[in-house]
Symmetry: C2
Subunit: 360 residues, 2 copies
């Protein structure tokens, strides 16, 4: 299509410049890294030589080995890379991480991979000073892989029960209580739960006996919170349908189909993510059910989009950006400590929740 940019000569090294300028490589190095300590005349001579030979400046690859520090933090997930730019929760989190990185001039390296093997390799070979882990599905595998690197890392979103890993998350039990309490207080007594996954790779309706067996602590805690608040209002929690989704549109719709196939459909939906809640609103509206007239919907997360949907979503807001900022700071200011932080959540009442219909 067009011309060659360069000959295929091997790139110029600092040593080449040093030789050309007639100084030692120590001095040549100083010209670039601490110019103030080298005599002006020499400095100019070396710079001129560099210019003349087309030297690209000290290669970070070489510098890195000596310095040890990369000045970049890795953000890893088991989802494809585009997850960081598509998912509203991830985006809000990345905004917080970005802010902390911008403040200190650190870079961000996105790490992911289609399959398990590649992911392992990518984590092993990522040039970073530490990792922030987006623990969605397969979070524990991700933690194991990362632990191998023996670099600082912090798990996000769901507290791991394992006390040896740093983690930043929210009080899921309290948040779920807030959500359920809000709906119960409005008068609702028939509920359904759209749940995040209980464990790797499963989905579908969940029997009451399974409910306490959720492996993912985040899922379990939210469930515990919901049930705890509802039972205080005398609701029989054993009778509440819980549908486990993969937090995507397809499985959420499937869940709704199942839930509303019932003879006594719920008047309120407790969704464990704003994503599912928004799908639910769309699904209900399309089915001719008014939100919140016929069915109230409450989400969890507090992503920015939730304020913009129609009707605007009532939800339990996490301080997402703040979690991101703290995670980044945990890596950037790593002090060898295991740091486990639990941040507070906030009930944000918007228009998707209201009293149950009179007829119910």
């Amino acid at each position: 299509m067009a011309s060659y940019t360069e000959g295929n000569t091997r790139p110029i090294r600092l040593a080449d410049i040093a030789k050309a300028a007639g100084v030692s490589h120590g001095t040549a190095s100083n010209v670039f890294s601490r110019p103030e300590i080298v005599r002006e005349e020499v400095r100019e001579r070396v710079k001129a030589a560099a210019e003349a030979m087309g030297y690209a400046g000290p290669d970070p690859k070489g510098r890195l080995l000596r310095a040890g520090r990369v000045n970049a933090i890795g953000v890893a997930t088991t989802e494809p890379l585009s997850y960081f730019f598509d998912d509203p929760f991830a985006r809000a989190m990345m905004a917080g991480i970005s802010e902390a990185c911008d403040a200190t001039g650190a870079g961000i390296a996105l790490v992911s991979a289609g399959n398990q093997e590649k992911l392992a390799w990518n984590i092993q070979s990522a040039l970073v000073d530490g990792f922030i882990l987006f623990c969605i599905e397969g979070g524990s595998r991700l933690v194991e892989l990362t632990r191998e690197r023996k670099l600082p890392f912090v798990a996000l979103e769901l507290g791991f029960d394992d006390d040896t890993v740093s983690a930043i998350g929210v009080d899921n039990v309290a948040g779920a209580r807030l959500a359920a309490h809000h709906l119960a207080e409005l008068g609702h007594r028939r509920f359904a739960v759209l749940s995040l996954p209980f464990a790797d790779d499963r989905t579908g309706p969940v029997s009451p006996s399974q409910v306490r067996t959720a492996v993912y602590p985040g899922t379990r805690d939210r469930l515990v919170g919901y049930f705890d608040a509802l039972s205080r209002f005398g609701v029989d929690t054993a009778g509440i349908p819980v549908y486990e989704t993969e937090n995507d549109e397809a499985s959420t719709r499937a869940g709704l189909e199942t839930i509303f196939a019932s003879a006594e459909p719920p008047t309120a939906i407790l969704a464990m993510s704003d994503r599912m809640a928004m799908v639910a609103i769309e699904w209900l509206t399309a089915r001719g059910l008014a939100v919140p007239g016929d069915v109230s919907v409450i989400g969890f997360d507090g992503v920015p989009d939730a304020a913009l949907c129609d009707p605007p979503l009532t939800t339990v807001a996490q301080p997402i950006a703040e979690i991101g900022r703290r995670a980044a700071r945990t890596i950037l200011d790593f002090d060898g400590m295991v740091r486990r932080e639990t941040l507070g959540v906030e009930l944000v009442v918007r228009a998707s929740s209201g009293p149950p219909p009179k007829t119910a």
Copy 2:
């Protein structure tokens, strides 16, 4: 808050393992990089030693220097890092880049910085095999900085006139013609242009004589396209108000105020980005002007959000993800050639454009 994770002993090196296992460092290296060529018994012995000493596996820092290749591509901009997660255009582009990177297992390093000096440093020290440059404002500075690194790079979005830099973009003249033609054909004769910046750091209304002086080729080409199409319909292009914004909400609103302060306000707005077009729709609606009843609005870019606003935006769609994919491929398959690609655009007619009001 909690216990120490590690003592402060210096990390284990491959050489330590080799010594402990009683083999040469060459063999120890092989155990990790080409296990199949080392005898099983030895392999197990080395692995056991590694396990026992808590070896984290070959350090990528060391490997990198030898290998030369980082297997990551840098994406740079003069905006803060959060730009990548906030801006819809950037996000769509990143999705394309992500896809190409996922396919080959390459990583993405985000590069940015608040000030000019830090940006230079971050570009100099980024551990990447090449750069994709988001050339918004200050694009030429970014190109200069990157050129210094003597790594492959490709400029995005706006073609640079400089033929020595690889670039991928769209045919802005053709796209702008499409937009203007569409509106003129609907019967509009009174237009206003919401323009992207002409050059670094300016904003405000533009006199007709300045119009052809735009420094940014993307801006200039779109203007040329608009005027070219309109003049074929006998519109006096010299009379069209052009307001230069910074492609943000504040300056776009300022532009609209100016434009609609006129005695003969336009019936159609040509916006050079979907962002500005969506701000315009909001502004017009809030002012009681119907879109497209009173004023038609057409955007440029084709970001996903444009389909969701109210009314859905008529726009000129760029193949954003495809541009991203090609940019990534250009770096990943770099062959020393300068590659300049111009992709086609497509008029997407939605509900924000219609015939001008009868009274006009």
